[in-house]
Symmetry: C2
Subunit: 328 residues, 2 copies
Amino acid sequence: MSIRVGIYGYGNLGRGIESALRQNPDMTLAAVFTRRDPATLSLSTEGVPAVAAADAPLWRDKIDVMILCGGSAKDLPEQTPALARLFNVVDSFDTHAEIPAHFARVDESAREGGRVATVSVGWDPGMFSLNRFLAGAILPDGADYTFWGKGVSQGHSDAIRRIEGVLDARQYTVPRPEALAAVRAGEQPSLSTREKHTRECFVVAEEGADLSRIEREIKEMPHYFADYDTTVHFISAEELARDHSGIPHGGVVIRTGKTGKAGEHSHKIEYSLSLDSNPEFTASVLVAYARATYRLACEGAVGCKTVFDVPPAYLSPKSHGELLSTLL
Amino acid sequence: MSIRVGIYGYGNLGRGIESALRQNPDMTLAAVFTRRDPATLSLSTEGVPAVAAADAPLWRDKIDVMILCGGSAKDLPEQTPALARLFNVVDSFDTHAEIPAHFARVDESAREGGRVATVSVGWDPGMFSLNRFLAGAILPDGADYTFWGKGVSQGHSDAIRRIEGVLDARQYTVPRPEALAAVRAGEQPSLSTREKHTRECFVVAEEGADLSRIEREIKEMPHYFADYDTTVHFISAEELARDHSGIPHGGVVIRTGKTGKAGEHSHKIEYSLSLDSNPEFTASVLVAYARATYRLACEGAVGCKTVFDVPPAYLSPKSHGELLSTLL
């Protein structure tokens, strides 16, 4: 029987889930939940209802796993614990420093409801975390490095848009090639924030705006840009739409380490992603973990899980025998 | 309390395990088991006994997990099922076509003995399998490719050594750069064996041997070389010792796939290894899975496992809280 999936929140990520579900024949989209007026949603899957978020509890027995597609700043800290009482859930909570507290809250709710919740799923946190973890478990005497990009940072783009005189903006995070090369060479360098990445900004300004003030405000913005070498390009709205409408991202996790009687042998483990669409790839990871979450629940598991806790085999619709004969 | 580990077989892999255990303070080498005369073994860990393989059953209560370091052709098909009745075990069985049958035999033994056995651990099968699997679960609409090398193939080197007139040899498997480039570009090419890798051989011949016959015998050897473009270099024993004494290896697993309403977005997931010492890296993977195997046994699990079945968290000595706060 097909796994009945709910999508909670219908932005870029929610639409990515909808597309990803079509690539996974063992899963069916049952409903999309929204805080907007459901009548205003235009789903691309025929016959699937858009439902008011407030009515989600009525779907308790009609959804096998709910995929939460809200933001980490305000939505997920409330939604995941609340919904984990009613549903098996998966989220992509990505505020790294807050993950242990989020995990604890969700774990309590999921246990109360007898449900399974898998949190912080995606690529970072998510597949990058899993690869940092695996590489560290294999090569304990080593160091790991994560580089992000080249890719669009939505948070940084939003921060630029809040500056007076800015109509629109797109910010790219770019790894420094020389830093990447040093890490790949096994040099295990100490790298400051500034030495790892640069930031490149494409900005559409209001006519007559003070461009040098905007550029200065961007470059001096604490937390977001002040610690980086930042480049600002002013372009037209047409150029932004033509050249920067996608949401590509990616990055690389590298661990180098030593083995042998006296650490005489060096090794490099590298995991990299190159993504045309950040939200659609994140959605694809969430869908695989939604399958695993539901299966764990079917076996009687309860509580909060992460990518570290899920046995890989649960992610695939293939039988164990098929995995052994074709993938091992 | 420290996990007490036994090493069964003391060749390159066994010595790699011995080194790797020193990097993992939660594990202790308890004994090395050998089919040779134990008195002839010179271990590099002080105070650890070398024990005759036949006496292994006497160590049943003194070993928490036994790491089997024999070969896949003759040793492991017998040893793993036999020892899985007495010990929790880990092996690196790598004859891909035989894995399902090996799994079934080991599973039966381990269940009879109430033990956990993790088989086919290493990098391929092992970490490469896990990455092929994860990438396929995330991007179902895609294709994956595995390239090996540049690295030494022991089996192919041995095959050359069996040719009349050959004193010693080293064979490297080398990915074709143009094939790698096409795969990385997302072209999902159909690649024949010949189009993926070349084979490079360094051969020390007996004085006066017929070099052109040796070269022809290598290049025409079925299964090993006939399907590849093979280069043969004749060098001196000194050159072989100077330039080719290491056992480096590595490779890359790449999956490209599409997402979106109409597959309009492309993604690339790439996992690569660059290893100075193939046996020492394999040993490091085995040690991490030995920890996981013992932990699973402590929780009451029984039977045969693979890298697909082990929850990642079990591989690390770190607490779950530490994983959440530092690695997720």
